[in-house]
Symmetry: C2
Subunit: 348 residues, 2 copies
């Protein structure tokens, strides 16, 4: 296993420089020489040590992916999308999570990506502007996903529009008491996605001539558990909603379960819509707003890679920053329906 370029050079009776050139397809190598080197290299099972070559070249061939957490559906999908395109360009992807111990403060304080990555993807980055400044000050090329930042290229779905689409679907069905399960109140990671969706929610309400009732807005922590808790809270109110817009499918699913346990029919007594189109949403019949997460991951990775390749080859001209909206789509399934004639109360 430990064959080095020198072993190959010796065996092929050439210098290491020639081996390097021959194996990487650089010009100025005689065809016969190249052939011989390649043959020897493959006979010896030689592969270049990336550590050494990265040191020599000065590029780490690593992109960092900063996410609140792995293991959650959205970020897992994202990672796999990013990984897929990074790999074909020879880049590794190194995840950094900001919701663990220490959270984003630790991340910003230690800047653990320094000297380790060539570029950074900030996904739903929970940073305030000071923190962001600290990160950009390192000089590492950055793109964002899920939120737009002035001066930084990125892609995102239009969260406000998506939310508005969702809530519009509900108002279109005649609902007037529409709850929001989001991530606002306790805001574990204070990123902008839930905020934007909240705004879309409000917009849709006023578009339908409805007044905003703060008691119908509860946090859901973007988990099924959180969604369930939120639903409990909503059902305990004097006049429960007839429809719920959950800011993620996982919360929606948690909410639906609680509602059904309470004896409510979904969508007979209560309509529920989510966002994401989680892998299993189709199989629980959840109406939702679909977004292509893997596609977003692939796209943002490509955006960063283009920038990185551009850096080496081209002018260091001011990169024109680029904000790209990704589409979303309403998928109507079986958890939303017309407003019930009389509001049902959960049975005790």
């Amino acid at each position: 296993m430990g064959t080095t370029i020198e072993d190959v050079a010796r065996a092929a009776q050439v210098s290491v420089a020639t081996v390097s050139r021959a194996l990487r397809g650089l010009p100025n190598v005689a065809p016969s020489t190249r052939e011989r080197v390649v043959a020897v290299a493959s006979r010896l099972d030689y592969v270049a040590d990336p550590t050494a070559s990265r040191l020599a070249v000065g590029r780490r061939m690593v992109v960092g992916l900063v996410v609140p957490m792995l293991g959650q559906w959205y970020y897992a999908k994202l990672f796999s999308g990013v990984e897929a395109v990074a790999t074909v360009s020879g880049y590794d992807v190194l995840p950094f999570t900001t919701s663990g111990p220490g959270g984003s403060e630790r991340f910003v304080r230690t800047l653990p990506f320094r000297k380790r990555v060539d570029g950074l993807i900030l996904a739903d980055a929970p940073f305030d502007s000071d923190q962001l400044a600290a990160v950009t000050a390192t000089g590492v090329p950055i793109v964002t996903l899920g939120t737009f930042t002035a001066g930084i290229s990125g892609i995102a779905v239009d969260n406000a529009a998506a939310a508005q689409l969702a809530v519009g679907h509900l108002t279109g069905l005649g609902h007037t008491r529409i709850a929001l399960i989001g991530g606002i109140a306790d805001d574990p990671f204070h990123f902008s996605v839930p905020v934007d969706r909240f705004h879309g929610y409000q917009r849709a309400l006023s578009a339908a001539g409805l007044t905003y009732d703060p008691s119908l807005v509860v946090p859901g922590n973007f988990s099924p558990e959180g969604g369930a808790e939120a639903m409990h809270q909503l059902l305990a109110a004097p006049t429960p909603p007839t429809a719920v817009f959950a800011c993620s499918d996982e919360m929606a699913i948690g909410a639906i379960q609680v509602a059904r346990d309470a004896g409510l029919g979904v969508p007979r007594d209560l309509s529920v819509i989510g966002i994401d189109d989680h892998d299993i949403s189709a199989y629980v019949g959840l109406t939702t707003i679909r977004q292509d997460v893997i596609g977003q991951g692939e796209r943002i990775a490509q955006l960063l890679l283009d920038r990185l390749e551009g850096f080496e080859g081209g002018s260091h001209a001011q990169e024109d920053i680029h904000h790209e909206a990704h589409p979303t789509r309403l998928v109507v399934r079986r958890t939303t329906g017309p407003k019930p004639p009389v509001a049902a109360h959960p049975r005790e």
Copy 2:
């Protein structure tokens, strides 16, 4: 950003060797010197370049995680467990997927982990013994997850026992026609998990005095889609099952949806049990066999790291191989119930 160890040495009026020693807490550095070096280093925002240090030390500080795919719930959780413990020991984790283009053949042919990782975690590795031999021949320390291999340490749940537990639950409820939705027939990645679960299924049947009916065993591809298709196939049979054991929760969820769409009550007419205890299973009321995926990831990573650390410090004595079974547990929820008095047929 580009401060090197030499900059620090110059500023602190010591040699680079001393800087290296001081910053890494090695002995034989005068307290006053160390203090000064640390101060200077932090003033200059110095961090060691891992690429250079890895080259010098000869260890890559990377563990490879070989999985069929990322982005699926099980492997995403696994990755996050592995990542969590690897990180605290300073290791990066580099995923390799074997179900993409080229599949495991490509992986075995190119051995893309050479010179890149210090150790390898093979999760549900779809390798035959020749392929496995090719991988081990590289000399890279290996552990397996999800399956036991002679001569290689690993951890796994007892899949046969888990399956037996699941099917035993169904026979205990009086069911006699019990289907299996697994991954056997077309076997996209031919790994052993579905095989073991199939054996557990058979064992549970004979334990209950039931005869095995091959027509009740259909592949499900470990996806909700696959589970749905499988259920369609099962319902089309002359005498459909009254209970289904799905080899993953995702398949179970797909199956349930199809059954309900066909007018069957779950669990009134049809009981369904899965394996995994997926994040959302609790919220769709799915009866299942629970396994702690993140815990498995953490444990297998620790096992590998211990081995790696052992390598450097201690004797190269024959590592005692270590096979560790991880527990599973039956979680009864609301998709399983007693055998219906008369078998229901799907309504057309």
